[in-house]
């Protein structure tokens, strides 16, 4: 019986301005930050820049990443980049976003704060435990349990 051959997968996306994913992720930190600040950059280019900054980013990348926390398409990528940056400015940026976000984007930020075990967020999280949005209240509760077990 003849074998049915699966068609070859399509070619991956290439960003018109910044090239293929591999090319973007080979850029230096300043170039990656510039992509995040480029208003004409595609979601693809900025997403890849965030993912690379998760490994090589330092405090100089924090403002550009933090600026994307309210972006519905890129908020998770911004957290992907911010969460592993050990500089306290990354924690400050996430904490500041607690006051400006709602819904799932806020839940995401709470989750990242929990992952970082940011003790400075305890008061804000304690308030969010009583949020009208049950998802947010649960996220805050879980974050507190992680930061201050037994609180």
């Amino acid at each position: 019986m003849p074998q049915t051959q699966q068609p070859a997968p399509p070619q991956p996306m290439v960003d018109n301005k910044y090239g293929a994913a591999g090319e973007i992720m080979a850029l230096s930190q300043p170039r990656l930050i510039a992509i995040l600040q480029d208003k004409s950059a595609s979601v693809y280019a900025r997403a890849k820049a965030c993912q690379r900054l998760a490994v090589v980013g330092d405090k100089s990348a924090v403002p550009a990443l933090a600026a994307l926390l309210a972006d519905t398409q890129l908020s998770h990528y911004a957290r992907f980049g911010l969460e592993p940056i050990s500089d306290p400015s990354a924690g400050d940026a996430l904490r500041a976003a607690l006051a400006n976000l709602k819904g799932n984007l806020l839940i995401g930020v709470i989750n990242s704060i929990a992952q970082r075990k940011d003790a400075k967020s305890v008061d804000a999280l304690a308030r969010l435990r009583h949020d009208a949005d049950a998802g947010i209240a649960r996220a805050a509760d879980a974050a507190l349990a992680r930061i201050r077990p037994g609180m």
């Binding site: 399509p10 996306m13 992907f80 989750n111 879980a142």
Partner: protein, 437 residues
């Protein structure tokens, strides 16, 4: 049979009710199978099972579950309508009824108090999170491998099942494969002498490259949610535009969804090496990638704290089938793979190591039986969460070393790389909202 700790369980209630019904309502007809007569397993002794994301591999595992007389498959949850229908049809045909319930969201499955255990066979991106959330919902879990996407997920998986006392079996069925067990027993008997080097086949480079791609496929129109729920398919993984190739199984090889060949095969073979070395509660302390060129065979040379070496490599075995392992001691060696044949050093040729191909093919069924027995007796199966979590930490450490292209030192007591900040940053990944461990 009351194998749960509660004083009144659904099982005990069912058993009592069935007996009482038979007495009170006689001559009302009660099927012999319902009472466990005529060789059938009574409901009180059955493990009730649900499925999450059952594709091609999951279907093979499910067939092994369906073949067990003391397992009743009750419900399927999948983000794809076609797969929900296929699995329902398979279960209904097996039981001669229309009872298998279909769900598109896992929360509905977790709410089913009559389901004891779940078979999870989604893509890798969901494995650890679904397992952990299922345990918190009171379910035991049989989950396909690779079981996690990161070091952090692996640790959380092990910790959750350990703390909650739920039963977990990773789909690393070779721990119950006859030829692999014989090789294990030979090594553990001391006949190889002191173990010096263990070899584990990592995914062959031409099929599963050790490095994964960060690329996206071009966007295609997203199907209606009731056909394929793309948002749920992605789950905790980063968003990317829909492309039908992903949902047709071609998600492997992408960093956001897959750990490359090291996780794909290492989750089996490094796992067997951990087992034979008695290292289920720790991991190597050193990881050195070699053969980084695209055309050269790759390997990661690992070392345990006691000096034992482990080599994850994609070439150089005897050609006995996929998933090779080779254990070398100072008095001999043994090698086997999925073909079932066991090769040994000259001095061990008199050992009785014959395994029939049929026996070698029974690994999944044996593994499923191990799990079902443990759901009943509340012990932990061979590929339990602690062992699987540790194996996956090993594999992720090797994968990180390969991505960074440098030798890494690792502290298994704290799951941290020593003196390498970049490597430490790769131990976890932010999950897409609203998901969290």
């Amino acid at each position: 049979m009351a194998f749960k700790s509660e004083s009144v369980t659904r099982r005990s209630l069912l058993k009592k009710t069935a007996t009482a019904s038979a007495l009170i309502t006689a001559p009302h007809f009660v099927p012999a199978s319902a009472l466990g007569l005529a060789g059938a397993t009574p409901p009180s002794d059955r493990v009730t099972l649900g499925g999450l994301g059952i594709g091609s591999r999951g279907t093979r595992v499910l067939q092994s579950f369906l073949a067990q007389s003391d397992v009743q498959f009750l419900a399927i949850c999948d983000v794809r309508n076609d797969r929900r229908e296929t699995i329902k049809s398979m279960a209904d045909q097996k039981y001669g009824n229309r009872d298998c319930t279909m769900y598109s969201e896992q929360e509905e499955l977790w709410a089913r108090k009559d389901i004891d255990a779940l078979l999870i066979a989604t893509g890798d991106r969901w494995h650890a999170l679904l397992s952990i959330l299922s345990a918190r919902a009171g379910k035991d879990v049989y989950c396909e491998k690779p079981c996690s996407m990161t070091v952090a997920e692996s640790r959380a998986l092990a910790a959750t099942f350990h703390q909650l006392g739920r039963v977990y079996q990773a789909g690393t069925q070779r721990r119950n494969g006859t030829n692999f067990v014989r090789a294990y027993e030979l090594a553990r008997s001391g006949k190889l002498g002191k173990l010096q080097t263990l070899h584990a086949e990592a995914g062959p480079g031409e099929r599963w490259a050790p490095l994964t791609s960060h690329a996206w496929l071009p966007a295609e129109p997203e199907p209606p949610k009731q056909v394929t729920d793309w948002d749920r398919w992605l789950g905790p993984a980063p968003w990317r535009p829909y492309n039908s190739n992903y949902i047709q199984g071609r998600w492997r090889g992408y960093f956001d969804f897959h750990g490359g060949g090291i996780l794909e095969w290492g989750s089996h073979t490094a796992d067997l090496c951990q087992w034979v070395a008695g290292m289920d509660e720790t991991a190597p302390v050193e990881y050195e990638p070699r053969g980084m060129g695209a055309d050269s065979p790759y390997s990661i040379h690992c070392r345990y704290a006691n000096g034992l070496r482990l080599v994850l490599r994609d070439k150089g075995f005897l050609g006995l089938g996929s998933c090779h392992i080779r254990y070398e001691g100072d008095n001999g060696w043994v090698e086997t793979a999925d073909g079932g044949k066991i090769e040994v050093s000259e001095n061990l040729r008199n050992e009785n190591l014959l395994v029939t191909p049929e026996d070698a093919r029974e690994a999944t069924t044996n593994h499923v039986r191990d799990f079902v027995a443990c759901v009943k007796n509340r012990r932990q199966p061979r590929s339990n969460a602690l062992a699987a979590g540790q194996t996956h930490i090993l594999c992720h450490a090797a994968y990180i070393a390969f991505q960074l292209g440098r030798k890494l030192a690792f502290d298994p007591a704290t799951d941290t790389f020593v003196g390498d900040a970049e490597a430490n940053r790769m131990r976890s990944r932010a999950m897409r909202e609203p998901w969290r461990l």
